[in-house]
Amino acid sequence: MFEGCTIKYNKQDGVNVSIQVIYPDNSNGSHREMSVPIAEGNTDYQAILEWVADGNTIQEAD
């Protein structure tokens, strides 16, 4: 689901508040991007947790 994506935390007031999922660029240089809240009921967040459980790591915020 997240093949080739950059996945990193977003920090607000020093706290991780969401996760940015940046898909690879299309041929025209644009890309899809998702900003996923750290919220239990959000299924994209659940998918990221599964991705982490598979051994992947979310990058720290810039």
């Binding site: 977003n10 607000q12 508040v17 969401s18 998702m34 900003s35 009921g41 959000n42």
Partner: protein, 391 residues
């Protein structure tokens, strides 16, 4: 002359009512009772009228919500497809009031799928919307699923009800008898006294129309009674194999889920909604905000030297949504201060967001005045922004 008794029976048949006589109405429906415990359709967008994301998508090779609202497809290494919201202008579905259908066309075939490959299409439903089935209780109700389907292929399709709270499943089959002809199908699913649907906003039930699969999903038997989930039973009877040829297509519309057991002669009519009612129910899961150039997102506030904040008051969604958007060079911008325009490099959902109100802030931005009000907008023809809270 005042009537002491109204002849409703004759009024309903068109015959002349008999003054102070006749037969009083004793039934609301032909079989004596209103069969529906729910005032709105249990399934959203069963007529495929709402398609906020797109009306046609090509090159589909993976799973997701691609086209008509609420309808999901799981696709794992089993061909390439085009999905289209197909306008209906004739045929049996059209004649029964359906003007749109979800159409799947195979564009790259895979006639020999690997064992673990699968392709199914369907819907995921919240547990709190399914409590009228009383699943897991001694009063559990049967399910009836009805739909219109058309394909170039004849054969048998399998439909699975998968209780994802309790890892259970029950299935039925339908037969496409005539190629390229809309046919109405009804599948009855048994009641289940084991395993209640959790009464919350999370997924409890998947309804899956299997379209193709590898051998891992074909080795068992179609379960007509509820059982523990079994991969080998999921497409045990299906032989449509929509992925085996680029000539293949499969279309569906008019999907209704009813509480209880019905036949073609007792099935209550499809509950048509206005487009607005249908859209509102779909927006609990997906809200298209903007696409295209120079479309407003919301007011914005230049919060600090390099950060802009936006507040979007939205229709209440199922859960705190994901911000799903297309980004690129100069895709998003703000304006307002002395007519200036400043670009934004990314949009980020903040930690205060709820399922009713979403806060966004920019990654970096420059050129604005701290404390001033602005407005955010799309600045590229390919820009797109949506809120997603699907199951």
């Amino acid at each position: 002359m005042a009537l002491s008794k109204i002849d409703v029976a004759n009024m309903l048949t068109g015959a002349t009512p008999v003054a102070n006589g006749g037969t009083a109405l004793t039934s609301g429906f032909q079989n004596g009772v209103d069969p529906r415990p729910s005032t709105v359709p249990i399934i959203q967008n069963g007529d495929m009228a709402v398609s906020q994301r797109a009306t046609s998508v090509t090159g589909i090779t993976d799973d997701g919500y691609k086209l008509c609202d609420r309808w999901y497809e799981y696709l794992s290494s089993l061909g390439t497809y085009t999905f289209a919201q197909e306008a209906q202008t004739s045929g049996n579905a059209f004649n029964n009031g359906f003007r749109t259908a979800f159409r799947i066309d195979c564009t790259t075939a895979d006639a020999s799928p690997s064992a673990s490959d699968e392709f199914w299409w369907g819907i995921k439903l919240e547990g709190q919307d399914l409590q009228m089935f009383k699943k897991g209780s001694s009063n559990a109700e049967k399910f009836t699923l009805a739909f219109w389907v058309k394909s170039n292929k004849t054969g048998v399709g399998q439909v699975n009800f998968r209780d994802t709270d309790n890892s259970r499943m029950c299935s039925g089959t339908y037969t496409i008898s005539s190629a390229n002809t809309w046919e109405h199908k009804i599948i009855n699913i048994a009641a289940d006294t084991t395993g209640a649907f959790t009464n919350d906003n999370a997924e409890s039930l998947q309804i899956q129309w299997y379209l193709d699969s590898g051998s891992n999903y074909e080795g068992g038997a179609t379960p007509t009674a509820w059982e523990a989930d079994s991969a080998g039973d999921r497409n045990a009877s299906g032989n449509l194999n929509i992925g085996d040829n680029t000539a293949n297509d499969w279309s569906i519309t008019g999907i209704q889920l009813e509480v209880g057991e019905f036949t073609s002669s007792t099935l209550p009519p499809f509950q048509h909604e206005s487009y607005g009612e249908n859209l509102l129910r779909c927006q609990r899961y997906f809200q298209h905000i903007v696409s295209g150039n120079h479309k407003l997102i919301s007011y914005a506030h230049w919060a600090s030297s390099s950060q802009i904040t936006f507040i979007l008051n939205i229709l209440e969604m199922r859960a705190v949504p994901t911000i799903d958007y297309d980004n690129g060079n100069d895709y998003w911008a703000i304006g307002g201060s002395s007519g200036s325009t400043n670009t934004i490099d990314s949009l980020i959902i903040d930690g205060y967001s709820t399922n009713k109100c979403v806060g966004l802030y920019s990654g970096t931005a420059a050129g604005g005045t701290t404390g001033y009000a602005y407005y955010g907008f799309s600045d590229n023809a390919s820009a797109r922004l949506a809120l997603v809270s699907e199951l």
